[in-house]
Symmetry: C2
Subunit: 325 residues, 2 copies
């Protein structure tokens, strides 16, 4: 039976399931200093979200001497906060829960797309300050427009399918997806990012942050967007990012909002989080949320149960299905 | 050829089409006094939205003496601002454009449903005042929940179909719709309103305002809502109204938000509009928009073209398809 540290919280039903299976669970947050001092060395496994940073120093400290750490679980998707090379070289398995938050991110993306098209936050904001801004809130429909998806993995495919039910035409750029898979899902796959931006009035980001994707959305590409929908309606240009901060170059977005090239930009993720003091927050065309793509009761419950399955397999000596190394 | 007054605006392409067909179009707003003084008596037709009130006095004045008024067009759906009895007794045809704004209202409803489930306006509002409220913004998914539609006409059916693509189970109350039509659309039809509220965590209003529907959403019915989704998730209760003010009893909504029975209420329409000074506007769980259901470029263009068709048929001596008397 294993000793498991849970440093950033976990759904109660998941913790209960681990305890029922005979494991010991310690729910406690550790400071970076405590981690480097080897706080995890007395555990067999650690489960983190994004708040705990598992650097190579932390891994070395957790495995040195009598350190038993053999499993790092990331309750969520992105593993930017875990040094994979150090984990692998110390023989530590890293797992995430890739499917658990898909539906929540898809729904938030659709919510932001609709909120952008109809200025929902601005509608609420103006009303709260006693303005009846009906005349200045003439929006547009999603139906009849082209949605460009940057990345066409699990989440983007979910967004594409829902957007199709709204009557949108789906385009994507993803060098790792075959034309056949895209065609099966009625999605037009582009050979390059520029082509996607030239075609689509609505762009939504669904890729990882990497050297390849950093600042992929910049002023030059935003300037290529057509502003006029496939149906001839001058709906303006709209960008949504519920993936990772840094893929969208925020200064470009602000410049494009100010010049009117962009009608709206909805960001759930930012280059620096918490995004307090970000100059974007003051623009009327900006729509923000504080990284809540996976912040639903459903996603957190599924994340927990998916992580329990990973842990149980690991302690039984099997390789978990979502092992990343 | 006819002389047509357009008192509350019309899409330019629609005006152009009337002029091309040889009609004379005067775009001008008239005060209530001018209308009662017979300002419309020199016209064959008048096209209004909701701002111009066509009372029986206005109709009498427009038809008296040499008055030629024979057609009142309502560019939109609701005809609360037109005295139908007076129109009929003066032999004046009244037409609206029932289908033109359907898709826009459907999309706004879906936008509000998603915004409620994920607190999108609050997310934006807190960020703008420098709060990173991620922890207090744990939402829920629409997928796996029951959506109750009050009224199951054109708009509700559109909402139902999109909500189904999100994985919602669709329920409705509508005494004028057959069980067969509902069953064909995979919608569970209820015999009474109470049954709908007892079953559904999400309610959306899609009926007309009438004696029958006035204050249909009251504290007693809101208190029947289950708060726990069909999937067992405690998602709370959510109400959206993009139909007409007055169907929802606003004091009940405020009471239910304050007591926590309701998690959110999104209102696009109000008992008194403009809804300035409404105490609901100050509640965190309230989501508002200033009657923008049909406020899209697409809807206004379709409204205009649908009205042109009505007018052209009328002037050719045919009864327009959407004549209401």
């Amino acid at each position: 039976m294993g000793r498991i540290a849970v440093t950033d919280g976990m759904a109660p039903e998941a913790v209960a399931k681990l305890v029922e299976s005979g494991h010991q669970v310690v729910e406690q947050h550790y400071s970076p200093l405590e981690l480097i001092d080897g706080a995890l060395s007395e555990f067999d496994a650690v489960v983190v979200r994004s708040a705990t940073k598992i650097t190579s120093d932390v891994i070395d400290a957790s495995c040195a001497q009598s350190g038993n750490l053999s499993f790092i679980g990331r309750a969520g998707v992105g593993i930017d906060n875990i040094d994979m090379a150090a984990a692998s070289s110390n023989g530590v398995i890293v797992c995430n829960t890739p499917g658990a938050s898909t539906r929540s991110v898809v729904e938030l993306t659709m919510g932001h797309l609709l909120a952008c098209a109809r200025f929902i936050p601005k509608a609420d904001r103006t009303l709260r300050r006693s303005e009846w801004a009906k005349k200045s809130l003439k929006g547009s429909e999603l139906g009849g427009k082209r949605l460009g998806l940057v990345g066409f993995g699990r989440i983007a495919q979910g967004v594409g399918s829902m957007a199709q039910s709204f009557g949108m035409e789906i385009h994507a750029f993803d060098p790792y997806i075959s034309k056949e898979i895209a065609a099966d899902l009625d999605c037009i796959l582009h050979d390059n990012v520029d082509g996607l931006f030239k075609k689509c009035t609505h762009i939504s980001i669904h890729c990882n942050l990497s050297e390849e994707t950093k600042h992929l959305v910049n002023i030059s590409r935003i300037s290529m967007m057509p502003g006029i929908g496939a149906d001839g309606i001058p709906c303006g240009n709209h960008i949504v990012n519920c993936a990772r901060g840094g893929i969208v170059h925020e200064e470009s977005v602000l410049e494009a909002l100010e010049s009117g090239i962009l009608t709206s930009a909805a960001l759930d993720v930012f280059e620096v989080e918490p995004a307090i003091g970000n100059p974007l927050l003051e623009h009327e065309g900006f729509h923000g949320s504080p990284h809540i793509g996976a912040a639903t009761l459903e996603a957190q419950s599924r994340v927990g149960l998916e992580m329990v399955n990973n842990l149980l397999m690991h302690f039984e000596g099997d390789k978990p299905a979502s092992a990343l190394n």
